[in-house]
Assembly symmetry: C2
Homo-oligomer: 156 residues x 2
Amino acid sequence: MSAWVEKLSARGYKITPQRRIILEILGNSDRHLTAEEIGQEVRKTEPSISLATVYRNLNLLADLQIVSRLNIHDGPVRYELHGGHNHHLVCMDCGVAVKLGVCPMQGEVNRVAEENGFEVSNHHFEVLGYCRECSLKRKLQQANSTAEGGTAGDKD
Amino acid sequence: MSAWVEKLSARGYKITPQRRIILEILGNSDRHLTAEEIGQEVRKTEPSISLATVYRNLNLLADLQIVSRLNIHDGPVRYELHGGHNHHLVCMDCGVAVKLGVCPMQGEVNRVAEENGFEVSNHHFEVLGYCRECSLKRKLQQANSTAEGGTAGDKD
DNA sequence: CTCCTAATTAATAATTATTACCATTTAGGA
DNA sequence: TCCTAAATGGTAATAATTATTAATTAGGAG
Ligand SMILES: [Mn+2]
Ligand SMILES: [Mn+2]
Ligand SMILES: [Zn+2]
Ligand SMILES: [Zn+2]
């Protein structure tokens, strides 16, 4: 059986259909999905599943390291199957995540931590931007809207 | 005058007392502060300043790279004066941030990005944990509560 | 210095993301 | 087959942030 069945059972958690579905969806996706997206997908199979259940389970599964969280600035948390420890190039538009083979959590960094008596418990490294497709899309859109008047409003 | 006056004026933004106060507070703090914390501090000087104004300005100032955001997982966004580009050891308890002299956004990473036609626009690298003081505090607290029964609930 | 207006503000409503609650159902071991 | 802790669905509640809007103000033109 899949490793996750083990991990759950071993600690007294039950194997429910909703957990199966959630994990299946994550397994079939090559993107990081938001809880909301997972909810929508889930409801295609089993419309009665509550979004609260999705959140509840994503939290549990993350605690057990069965899925992992990705914290995009400018947007809700995204989830994927936990495939070992790694970092990503994340598209801020569509959510695809290209795996990086690199982890910056090494020598230099650990040294500074020790020097400061800092107890490291976690780290994030994410590169944000736009995947090939979305990057292209945006450039076209911008080309479109090149004739607007603008004094000084707020933009990014 | 401070560089930020320049940056704002240059683009037609006004120098308001609330902006002065917000930036002064950030200038006097060695911690990353949340919008809420800044709001409280701000109201000590000028009780009428709205929290919406704090948020509005932090967003503007971040866009102009006058302040920078720090996205702690498990907690609201924190802000500091933008002091060049750098990353931190961030205490998840009290929010102090020890500057790291290292940025992982280099060769290896950029290469992967290029290979994938990925348009990089930003990155995050943060090491989370507990500063010396808070780390100690927690160890004491845990030592205290070492006699609780627990079957299988959810913990982290 | 006085006016004018776009920028900004305070106050508050609205949204978004996530968690808490609770009555009911269910997984899975005895 | 029963029993019970675990889980669920539905929904209310909370936390964080953004939107709206009428009133105020910074700062340049005259
Ligand atoms: Mn890493
Ligand atoms: Mn960097
Ligand atoms: Zn994309
Ligand atoms: Zn601390």
